[in-house]
Amino acid sequence: MLKTLLCVDENLASSIALRFTAYLNKFISLSLFVVHVEQPDEKEQVGSGWVQRVWEEGVGANGRRAVARMLRTENIDCPLAGRPKIFVGNRTEEIMYELRSGSYDLYIEGYLNIADSEQFYQVISSPLYAQAPCSVLLVKNLSISKKCALLCADSVDSKILVEKSMEILGDSTFGFDIVYFKFKENEQLEILAAEEGGGNLKQAQALLDGNGKTANNIIVLSGTPEQVGDYLKDYALVASTLPARKSMHMSTLANSLASVLLLR
């Protein structure tokens, strides 16, 4: 079972993330834990000792109620492995601590699909993503597809892409496509022959075979990040290495209509 931590806040992105996680559970056996962090206003923090403890308990109780409301409203068909974990403090710090101490295999949170590469870059280069001890799934949409894309490109380390994606998806019942992206300013997206994919693509394919999996399709796409991002909508999720900097690869993930699994 994949030990998974899902961050739930009382917002719409979490609503989608909850539903998608339940959907994911049909394909990957998840041991699901839910976390929520109440971030109080600094001005609200008063006193010390037992006064602060009472205050924290009150804030924590608010968080528990919020999570309970979300779980009740969404009523997902996915059992929780334990009681929701409610923390009070800095969101990034608390989640990072939980990820490390809990030895999770996967962290999931929702991300409303805004076609803004800059904003996406801010999110994935934030400490939570850059330093997470496990792979991170950014849930953007509620796809009902049964296939995953492994996103490959010249700048992508195929070894990390395949090995890390197999750690998460290897035991799943998803089908796999390898999608190789070549940037070009085209009027329309072009699908090229597999031979146009280059060495990285062949390596990815060989590594996937070595893991006992076969790609259903090898697709080489030539186009802009917006065009490729749109193409990826037919996948449940797109597995990718974490882009280290602003690039066409990063832009493609920002424009992807499918959820993005950032591999570490």
Partner: protein, 282 residues
């Protein structure tokens, strides 16, 4: 549901009958076929009468006899409602009406839609010069802009792979959701729900609507995706999308952002660039 189908004797009207019959089959709506003749005569023009009766036959033939919700006309004599306005009507489980009016196609369509309280107007158009009707300027544009209900302009019949629905702050009615459902089912297409946010404005409401729509379609096993765009990006996005599929625009009230963004020229441009259909939802 009440559907008003605007028809004439040209090929673009014949071509839309396939989609009209499928919509009628799926929705079991009350249907009105409207033909508008230019000149004021003492009786309906023969060619228009023949065309409307032919379209009626096409519609009725799409149902098996036991499933047909409409009745044949008991009396084939056209009733005169007023000068230049005639009808033939039947009622069984559902009502079917042939209506012929005189004057401007756009004006008579909008007037009749208001009179009967139609939920949807459907019309075809020629793609030769953008999106036009023979004999009168800007018919689809004027109806799309001014109708009191939703309008579906079918330019080219054929299966599309995606429907792009553009949402702004307007309230989304159950009827309009159903219309989008029907189009998705008709074409077995995926659905993109695109929210438009204005610079500096709060996006809570639009986000909430988008997520509710996503859940609504997801529960119905319809492939749907959400995307949020800035208002500056929407025009180009919609123009590009219109080349690839059906665009459904939710045009709301006076404060509707889309009404501000989509000027007459923009709707005209969309009608010109769309390869298949444009659905204006109200």
């Amino acid at each position: 549901m009440k559907i008003l189908v605007v028809l004439d004797t040209h090929e673009y009207s014949r071509n839309i009958m396939q989609d009209v019959t499928r919509l009628a089959t799926n929705t079991l709506a009350d249907i009105v076929f409207l033909g508008v003749q230019e000149k004021s005569n003492s009786k309906p023009e023969r060619s228009l009468v023949a065309a409307l009766l032919r379209y009626q036959h096409d519609l009725y033939s799409s149902f098996s006899p036991e499933d047909l919700p409409y009745e044949e006309f008991s009396n084939m004599e056209w009733q005169k409602k007023k000068c230049g306005d005639w009808l033939l009507s039947s009622r069984s489980m559902k009502k079917f009406t042939l209506r012929i009016r005189t004057g401007s196609v756009a004006k008579e369509t909008i007037s009749l839609a208001a009179e009967i309280g139609s939920d949807l107007i459907i019309l075809g158009c020629s793609s030769q010069y953008g999106c036009e009707w023979d004999g009168e300027m800007n018919v689809p544009l004027r109806i799309a802009r001014n109708a009191p209900c939703s309008v579906l302009v079918i330019k080219k019949v054929g299966r599309v792979k995606q429907i792009v629905s553009i949402l702004d702050q307007s309230a989304v009615s159950q009827e309009s959701l159903e219309m989008v459902n029907q189009l998705v089912t008709l074409h077995d297409a995926g659905l993109k729900i695109v929210g438009v946010k204005e610079q500096g404005a709060r996006q809570d409401k639009i986000e909430r609507q988008m997520v509710e729509l996503l859940k609504y379609y997801n529960e119905r096993r319809i492939n749907a995706w959400i995307k949020l765009l800035n208002s500056q990006e929407i025009k180009d996005y919609v123009t590009t999308s219109s080349r690839e599929g059906i665009v459904a625009l939710w045009m709301g009230g006076k404060k509707s952002l889309l009404r501000k963004l989509f000027s007459r020229s923009m709707v005209d441009r969309l009608l010109g660039t769309t390869q298949s259909s444009l659905l204006v939802l109200r």
